[in-house]
């Protein structure tokens, strides 16, 4: 693929005195703005990190402030897979299958040391990082990371989405299929 020109950073132009109810914006910016503020997570809770994921979803940390409170237990309705916990080899292909069932555009957050690199489990039973099977957008360090760290990861993902081209980059698999 040829190099894409960088996304222009002006999101919208609006002057209420002149334009009334009319917005001018770029399609990428509008689509990305909608996508990033309504990320539906697929909670892939596999071990202790999932406890912090639950805390993030609960009232004290309140992930809905960032538009990601709609946890979907069906991969077909999810946008971002939060892999929180130890991915054993026995579970690895199941995680991969669920990832494959998620429709594009989709993103992945590797939450915690285990999901990022196998963590303290240098062993025969544990996959050494979920990035060996699926592409990861954001890695969060910690064992477990605090809920604030997960929220920070989520905000970084939002910033990343903002800079992507809404069709060419976020619908890659679909375009490959059509080609």
């Amino acid at each position: 693929m040829t190099a894409l020109e960088p996304i222009q950073r002006t999101d919208a132009a609006y002057d209420s005195k002149i334009e009334g109810n009319v917005f001018f914006t770029r399609l990428d910016a509008a689509i990305n703005w909608m996508r990033k503020n309504s990320l539906w997570p697929m909670p892939m809770g596999l071990a202790c990190c999932a406890i912090e994921l639950m805390a993030t979803g609960a009232s004290r940390f309140d992930i809905s402030r960032f538009g990601a409170e709609v946890m979907r237990f069906s991969p077909r309705q999810a946008d971002v897979m939060i892999v929180s916990g130890t991915v054993t080899y026995k579970m690895a292909l199941a995680v991969k299958r669920i990832w494959d069932q998620m429709p594009e555009p989709k993103w992945c957050i590797a939450m915690g040391a285990c999901a990022s690199s196998g963590g303290m489990y240098r062993s025969y039973a544990v996959l050494q990082g979920i990035d060996r099977l699926i592409p990861v957008d954001v890695y969060i360090s910690g064992c477990p990371p605090r809920p604030e760290a997960l929220l920070e990861g989520l905000m970084r993902l939002q910033r990343k989405i903002d800079k992507e081209h809404s069709l060419i980059e976020q619908k890659k698999e679909l375009l490959e299929e059509l080609a």
């Binding site: 080899y89 292909l93 240098r122």
Partner: protein
């Protein structure tokens, strides 16, 4: 009835089948002959009222003969005593199952089979319990590397080798000072 009396009773009833007894920090262990293991266990349950099988585990004494050792932890609710029973097993021997005495032994023995490769005679359903059917190794054996071995079963599961950066690093037990005891790389 105290655990010491229990050990005496077993010795008195089974004589030569009891190979050794040991007391350490109030814990009593009885080593028995594998041939009489099932009889000892049944007697412990029926006559000595050890109605709870707490755990079943196994040891790998690599390089010794017999290589493996079974360990059973018993407890009696009516008298509150603990007892440990051990029996050595060589690589080509099967262990009589105790799942007919305590149903809980079913899954414990499957785990021992899965991790160590010790087989149980008379077990109703001897399949792997943690790893998947068809996994080719027994990962808790001493000659199995900590980092694992590669294996592949298409559509079921796969395993790889974990990076250990020269390790595993193991504390050297029995050293005189902390320098001698410091964890070092160890290879089998």
């Amino acid at each position: 009835m105290t655990a010491a009396e229990v050990v005496k009773a077993i010795q008195g009833h089974f004589g030569d089948a009891v190979l050794a007894t040991k007391e350490h920090l109030g814990e009593h262990t009885v080593d028995v002959n594998l041939d009489r293991l099932h009889a000892v266990m049944r007697w412990c349950r029926d006559e000595l009222r050890f109605d709870y099988l707490v755990d079943v585990s196994s040891l790998d004494h690599l390089g010794e003969e017999p290589r493996f050792e079974m360990v059973y932890e018993l407890y009696g609710y009516s008298h509150g005593q603990h007892l440990r029973i051990k029996a050595k097993v060589s690589e080509d021997q099967g262990v009589p199952t105790v799942s007919d005495l305590w149903p809980t032994a079913d899954w414990h023995e499957r785990e021992v089979y899965d991790m160590m490769g010790i087989t149980f005679d008379g077990h109703p359903d001897l399949r792997r319990i943690l790893m998947w059917d068809g996994y080719p190794f027994y990962p808790l054996r001493k000659d199995f590397p900590l980092e694992g071995k590669p294996s592949e079963m298409p559509d079921v599961a796969f395993t790889g080798v974990a990076p250990l950066e020269g390790g595993p690093f193991v504390t050297c037990a029995g050293g005189q000072d902390t320098i001698a005891r410091e964890p070092r790389a160890k290879r089998v």
